[in-house]
Amino acid sequence: MKSILPGVVSNASARRRGVNLVGPVDLTVSGPGTTMIIGPNGSGKTSLLRMMHGLERVRSGTVSWAVPTEQARQHQAFVFQTPILMRRSVVDCIAYPLIVRGVPKKQARVAAAEWAQRVNLGDTLKQPASSLSGGERQKMTLARALVIKPELLFLDEPCASLDGRSTREIEDLLAQARADGTTIVMSTHDLGQARRMADDVVLLLHGRIHETGKAQEFFHNPSTDEGKSFLAGGIVE
């Protein structure tokens, strides 16, 4: 199978009702590894991820992949900041992406149950998804994203409202996915998480990419004042 990477965002911006959400930005995701998008609230992290995945229309510039966009979308998955639950059991929620792809129901359920085990939700298969706790919900949506074996996984602040233990579980699962070859692009406003997980860092400010670089370099020696200030925990506007 041909890789969908590199993904190239070229001078692209997204707008809604005349308001600029993000951009214009240039960014290349070549994988493997984890690209961490950091920046203050409202800097455009969510919008950038959504635009790359095709959830926000690109109003100028382009987002392109090594294969046609339609095909590239088949190998991407997206985990939303607030878990989107379906009115189904845990196992059926996780199986849903497979069902959509035409996998027979039984087979989809078996695969979903396996994934539920992997994210430690093996005991909750038959429960309504909405009966899960916050951390469990996010693990469920992570399993639902990974069940299709995406080449590229987007996550929008997946741990934003989780406690430490759930955050660690999610991070471990993501480290595993990364080790299995999934390229990850995720946003966070948790610098600790960025330090723990990032291979590459993208600093967004006011909808623009302010600085990009390898994680080691960025965290040791950011090249801009805003980067320094952001790392120091200062308020960056």
């Binding site: 995945h53 339609e70 989107i84 009115r87 189904r88 849903y96 959509v100 309504p128």
Partner: protein, 234 residues
């Protein structure tokens, strides 16, 4: 006063003894209205879900028209169906006038807009929740509609119940297209009208009690659905 009380007593007697006419008429009412609602739901649920997931020019207007159609006076629907089915009408050859089928057609026309409207409201909320996920998963429009219909089945059942309530209590249209023929097209509402005009209060009241019981049962069911819908984990 005494006459009404007398009628009420006799009515209860009729109900408790499963009076032949009363049972016949009740069953015919159920048969006509349940069939009509099944058809109307088979039309209304997909249309409601299609309206929820599709953006097109004139969508607002379409929804406004559907909502306006909910207010169609049944008598006018009856007139319309009568004209269509009458011997000289476009569908006259089918010979359906004054049959239960004609009544079903009229009730389908009356119930469908209501069912579309209520299911659209419920499924639109569900679509707002599911939108990003289903787009992200590259679902086809058909898959989106099916997913909403399945996951929104409570909303659809609520819509169907409301449609049934409207259909079973309606008199204007079925009186015109059914003709209120004894043993053939007489149902609860038309029988009540007739028996009342004949001064046959006990049967009229008995039929009325059955109709009220049906209406209450339907409304309680809807109320329960909505409550569990809100409270439920599904």
């Amino acid at each position: 006063m005494n006459e009404i009380f007398q009628g009420l007593l006799e009515a209860v007697g009729l109900i408790l003894s499963f009076d032949r006419d009363l049972v016949d008429i009740t069953l015919r009412s159920l048969q006509v209205s349940l069939t009509a609602v099944a058809i109307a739901t088979a039309i209304g649920a997909p249309v409601g879900s299609w309206l929820a997931v599709t953006r097109f020019r004139g969508r607002r207007q379409t929804i406004a028209i559907v909502n306006a159609l909910m207010g169609l006076p049944p008598v006018v629907v009856g007139l319309f169906v009568y004209v269509m089915l009458s011997r000289s009408g476009p569908l006259g050859v089918l010979g359906l006038l004054f049959t239960p089928t004609a009544m079903i057609i009229a009730q389908v026309i009356i119930a469908t807009p209501l069912i579309i409207s209520i299911s659209h409201q419920g499924l639109r909320e569900l679509w707002a929740q599911y939108h990003d996920l289903l787009i992200s998963l590259n679902t086809t429009r058909w898959q989106r509609m099916r997913t909403l219909i399945w996951d929104g089945r409570r909303a659809l059942l609520t819509a169907a119940l409301a449609g049934f309530g409207r259909a079973v209590g309606e008199v204007g249209a079925i009186m015109i297209v059914g003709g209120n023929i004894d043993q053939a097209t007489r149902v609860l509402t038309t029988a009540i009208a007739l028996e009342t005009s004949k001064g046959n209060f006990s049967l009229a009241i008995g039929l009325g009690l059955v109709l009220i019981a049906l209406a209450i049962a339907v409304n309680m069911a809807i109320h329960n659905m909505l409550r569990t819908e809100r409270a439920s984990l599904w």
